[in-house]
């Protein structure tokens, strides 16, 4: 059986080496690419990213990659957005002003709360390991993927998060000072991880392996 062809979108994000390494470790043939032609023939597409929303979206648009990603998403092949990559899939982002995202996930990217529900200060950026809450409801569309996301520790580093406004097939949240924040979600062929599966030890590697079987 041939290795799955994974393309990691190259739009200037700095953390691509670890993403590539983790997917290769899980048995994929990985290319880092900014070519629409290469994106078109990928079996799986990964949109990585660390940094600010406006720079991210501007880079994608100026390289014509917004269209390539949109076209890929219409083919029903799996697409994973990681951290800023997931946020860029949203309708809008509020970092340094309101900007439009790729609108593949209905909702907005907004700042994390600064206080717990009891009024204590929270440190920002949120850097560290989050534990996703276990969700007991199986979801008809999740292809068995979601049990790899429930009740597990993952590494996150962010100041903004995705707040869904429309229908999302399945979302896994974590407790952040009493607030429930989306840690990962799946909508049709799109998987979004606010955390970094490539930096989340065994639980992260398991998510990547399972994603490659979608």
């Amino acid at each position: 059986m041939s290795k799955p062809k994974v393309v990691v979108v190259d739009y200037g994000a700095s953390n691509t080496f670890s993403v590539i390494s983790a997917f290769e470790y899980c048995g994929a043939n990985v290319r880092l690419s900014d070519s629409s032609a290469e994106i078109e023939i990928a079996d799986f597409l990964i949109l990585p990213g660390v940094g600010a929303f406006p720079d991210g979206i501007n880079n994608l648009v100026s390289l014509g990659l917004d269209e390539a990603i949109w076209r890929f998403s219409q083919t029903e092949r799996p697409l994973m957005g990681i951290c800023l990559g997931m946020q860029l899939l949203a309708t809008t982002g509020d970092e340094f002003g309101r900007h439009n995202g790729l609108n593949l996930l209905k909702g907005s990217v907004i700042k994390l709360p600064e206080l717990t529900v009891d009024g204590k200060k929270l440190r920002l950026p949120n850097i560290g390991w989050i534990k996703t809450l276990s969700s007991n409801e199986p979801h008809e569309n999740d292809h068995g993927f979601f049990k790899y996301l429930n009740d597990k520790w993952f590494y996150a580093a962010h100041s903004f998060h995705f707040n869904p406004s429309g229908n999302i097939d399945a979302a896994v949240r974590f407790d952040y000072g009493g607030h429930l924040i989306v840690g990962a979600l799946q909508h049709e062929n799109i998987v979004g991880c606010q955390f970094h599966p490539e930096r989340s030890g065994k639980s992260g590697v398991d998510v990547i392996e399972r994603f490659l079987k979608l």
């Binding site: 700095s14 953390n15 691509t16 080496f17 670890s18 390494s21 983790a22 290769e24 470790y25 660390v50 940094g51 600010a52 720079d55 800023l84 200060k121 440190r123 920002l124 950026p125 850097i127 560290g128 390991w129 989050i130 534990k131 520790w153 590494y155 580093a157 962010h158 100041s159 970094h196 490539e198 930096r199 989340s200 030890g201 065994k202 992260g204 590697v205």
Partner: protein, 252 residues
């Protein structure tokens, strides 16, 4: 939750360890030690490039790349990062965060430039501090050699405003001694700053880790010689913290 971080001071392709940032002794191979700690459940690594000016970037980048293929937890690289290009090459080799000390003291605007290029969560202020009074510490540059004349809390606050998203603090007095951490230094910084603080320097026993987490609101504790000399294991530390009621990532 509280993170347990393994600190590896690297010279060329070897892990070394000093005491109070002086006197370097080889303790092992970085990738071997890193794999061991990763399998034992470490949450994160900090690589300190101890003689950044002598060895080129390439040796360190090779070490980071080697690690990134085998250990899948975050890596911060500190040492010798002078500008955006240095940061970019280290991040492209697999590091998740870069730690800046001397270059930031000389030009704090560098923190702003780096944060805007790579995101605040990737930019760590590395501080090396030595006690100069009962509740006062001086910031040192150049691996603990050059006093800067600045008081640590004021400098750290300012650096965060310029763009640092996290603080990595080394107590020069306690480094390598295994006599316990500088509780007051870490408490002062954790309470003064809105970003996560990682405490480094002095852990020799399990009780030292419990003490620093009870005494201050640091987000993480970095351990070097106690791990490298096999005095403590990550597993022991996490079990102890769990038993004492701290929230730690369960890797058992």
């Amino acid at each position: 939750m509280k993170r347990i971080v393994a600190r590896l001071d690297i010279k060329g392709d070897k892990v070394i360890k000093g005491i109070q940032l002086e006197g370097l002794r080889v303790v092992g191979d970085p990738v071997e030690l890193a794999e061991r700690y990763y399998l034992d459940g470490v949450d994160e690594f900090v690589f300190v490039d101890a003689v950044a000016s002598l060895y080129g970037r390439n040796t360190l980048s090779d070490v980071i790349r080697g690690m990134s293929r085998k250990v899948f937890v975050p890596i911060t690289v500190v040492g010798g990062i002078r500008n955006v290009n240095d940061a970019r090459s280290v991040l492209r080799a697999g590091a998740d965060k870069v730690g800046i000390n001397t270059a930031a003291v000389q030009n704090p605007n560098l923190l702003t430039e780096l944060a805007s290029q790579f995101g605040r969560q990737s930019i760590v202020l590395s501080v090396e501090a030595k006690r100069v009074g009962p509740k006062s510490w001086e910031v040192y540059c150049d691996s603990g050699r050059e006093p800067s004349g600045m008081e640590v809390v004021g400098w750290a606050r300012s650096a965060v405003e310029y763009g640092a998203g996290e603080l990595f603090v080394t107590s020069i007095d306690q480094d390598g001694t295994q006599q316990g951490t500088d509780l007051d230094l870490m408490a002062a910084l954790a309470s003064a700053l809105p970003v996560p603080v990682v405490a480094s320097g002095g852990v020799g026993q399990l009780s030292h880790v419990v003490d620093i987490l009870n005494y201050s609101d640091v987000s993480a504790v970095a351990i070097a010689s106690a791990l490298h000399y096999d005095k403590l294991t990550i597993r022991d530390i996490k079990k102890e913290l769990c038993d004492k009621g701290f929230c730690v990532r369960n890797t058992l």
